[in-house]
């Protein structure tokens, strides 16, 4: 088993994202596929942003690489989340103004972590801290619409655009913005 641990400082905008990029590099160097390293990188990035924006004293991102599985654990010792279900609701955010002005606080951090994981657990206690554990099962796994096209020559790019599914993740419907490309679910069924 290989383990990488990164310490994240609170409010450290200048280094924000550096640990996640490093994690992605470390995973690639350890033989993890581009697809899996990207998923783990996104999970780590969202965790890193949460630690940077919300944690009282920073926290850690720990990545365990085992045969078939990547586990990413993001942990801090405060302030904790009083309503975890609410925090997991797409679009809900408690990010302060300085963070939202920089494009954080879309209320999609935890949902993005969940979406890029095959297993997701979150435990939090106000005053004690938060621990998020994401399990990513490594390839081979069923083909995903997110798998990048293997070739990107001109004709292939057009084909890829045609094959690209309308982007309508679950949370978009939760936010009431479903129905990509102007189609309502009804018209899709009728098509």
């Amino acid at each position: 088993m290989t383990r990488f641990v990164h310490r994240i400082a609170p409010r450290d905008i200048e280094h924000g994202g550096s640990a996640s990029a490093e994690i992605k590099r470390e995973l690639r160097a350890a033989g993890v596929s581009a697809y899996d390293a990207r998923r783990a990188g996104i999970v780590a990035f969202e965790g890193e942003m949460n630690l940077m924006v919300h944690s009282t004293r920073g926290g850690t991102i720990e990545v365990d690489l085992r045969p078939g599985v990547i586990e990413v654990v993001v942990e801090d010792d405060g302030p904790g989340i009083s309503d975890v279900d609410l925090a997991l609701t797409p679009g809900f955010s408690t990010a302060p103004d300085w963070a939202t002005e920089l494009g954080f606080g879309a209320g999609m951090g935890l949902p993005n972590m969940q979406r890029n994981s095959d297993g997701f657990e979150i435990h939090s206690q106000p005053g004690r801290g938060t621990r998020v554990r994401c399990r990513i099962e490594r390839e081979p796994h069923p083909a995903s619409p997110e798998t990048p096209p293997s070739s990107t020559s001109g004709a292939d790019v057009e084909k890829a655009a045609c094959e690209r599914e309308p982007w309508e993740p679950d949370w978009a419907q939760d936010l009431g913005v479903g129905g990509a490309h102007g189609q309502t679910p009804e018209t899709k069924e009728g098509a």
Partner: protein, 115 residues
Amino acid sequence: MKLGELARDLGWETVVEGRGLDRDVSGGFVGDLLSHVLAGARPGEVWITIQHHANVVGVAQVADLAGVVLAHAVDVPDSVVAKAREAGVTVLRTGETSFVVCGKLYERGVGRRTC
């Protein structure tokens, strides 16, 4: 079409060359909310944004994007330039709005649906 060709044709300023100029652009994504970009952008796409802080580089890296186009003539801090250089992330800049950049890209077939 390669990102470098698009940059030249559309008159974008190359802030950091990075490793993306030779990449074929597989599509595009526009957004200023970082999580939105991580959720929706695909590998190899070009990202159009007005955000211009260090985390933009991090997003481009983890999402494996071809490069970033900073619209609206935003100022790029030296720290961001340094971080992008170190990371090999291509950063381009234009005075045009995100809307116009997207329109011109689409006009050139980037991300266009022909079906």
